[in-house]
Amino acid sequence: MTTLTEASSMTTMSESSSLRLGGPVPHPAPARGSSPVCTSHPLLRSASGSDTLERLDLSTRDATDAPWLTIVWNDPVNLQTYVSYVFRTYFGFTASRAERLMLQVHNDGRAVVASGGREQMERHVEAMHDYGLWATLTRDAP
């Protein structure tokens, strides 16, 4: 697909022109010296599927008491294969369930991927944001 020449021309162009990924921002924060301390975060807590699965099972049981939902929304950027991958590896879903939910996101614009307590759904939403998926939590059926 991409050849060396294409890649190098992209490189040149990106240097010269408007690849403003880190472009100007309307309201930059004042730089006051102290940059944030990089604490070490369990970046890959999401990769350990078994822990997640266990929590999911618990959440299903008390779902009537705490009907918070994690919703993943469709976006035009993320690859379908990536969304399926995230559903499989983070939630521990089977390939077919992950595929079905991914297609639901794609076709219906959203899918409920988990339900349970509020804090737990917040953790799921944060994990989805780590992956770059657009997720929210809510108490009402979407």
Binding site: S14, A29, S34, H41, N78, Y82
Partner: protein, 171 residues
């Protein structure tokens, strides 16, 4: 050329030097972009060490807004509170990913070897780059072709191709 090959639990990446440079530059720009949300106010420095104490309002820059979305869609108060408590940590994790991605590319060796953490940093950082570029290209809903710089659009597509190729070799 085959860019990704499985080797045990890891993945071997082969890139041309120009591609490597491009990815390093994009990662640096991503870190710079995220850095604009990464500074706590001085009063919050102690909280900041725990990743708490970020802003309450969503970013005005659409690229940052897409990287750091609201956790609540129809409850502004809950969204603000959640953002204040968690955004800084999310920014830090994204920056950490991008740094790990950079480090995997720093060697001049013809190939980089990614372990499990490395693979995650690649998947996530390529995604974050594409999200930011999509915002610049005004790709907002399915079917948007993207407006603006053709070179940027080419890079956006190429990053998608790279990520897709990486996913193909993963179990």
């Amino acid at each position: 050329m085959t860019r990704f090959t499985r080797r045990g639990a890891g993945v071997v990446v082969r890139l041309y030097a120009s591609e490597q440079e491009l990815l390093l530059r994009l990662a640096a720009q991503l870190i710079e972009l995220l850095g604009q949300r990464g500074r706590p106010s001085p009063a919050d420095v102690l909280f900041a060490q725990a990743g708490i104490g970020g802003r309450s309002a969503p970013p005005l820059d659409p690229a940052l807004a897409r990287l750091l979305p609201d956790a609540y869609r129809h409850d502004r108060e809950a969204a603000s509170e959640h953002r204040h408590l968690t955004e800084l940590a999310l920014v830090q994790r994204k920056v950490e990913n991008a740094r790990r991605f950079q480090n995997s590319l720093r060697d001049d060796a013809a190939e980089a070897i990614l372990d499990a953490d490395g693979i995650q940093s690649w998947l996530r950082t390529l995604t974050d780059m594409r999200l930011a570029l999509a915002a610049r290209l005004q790709i907002e809903v399915d079917g948007d072709a993207g407006t603006g710089d053709d070179a940027m659009l080419e890079i956006y597509d190429w990053l998608g191709y790279l990520q897709g190729s990486l996913l193909e070799v993963l179990p």
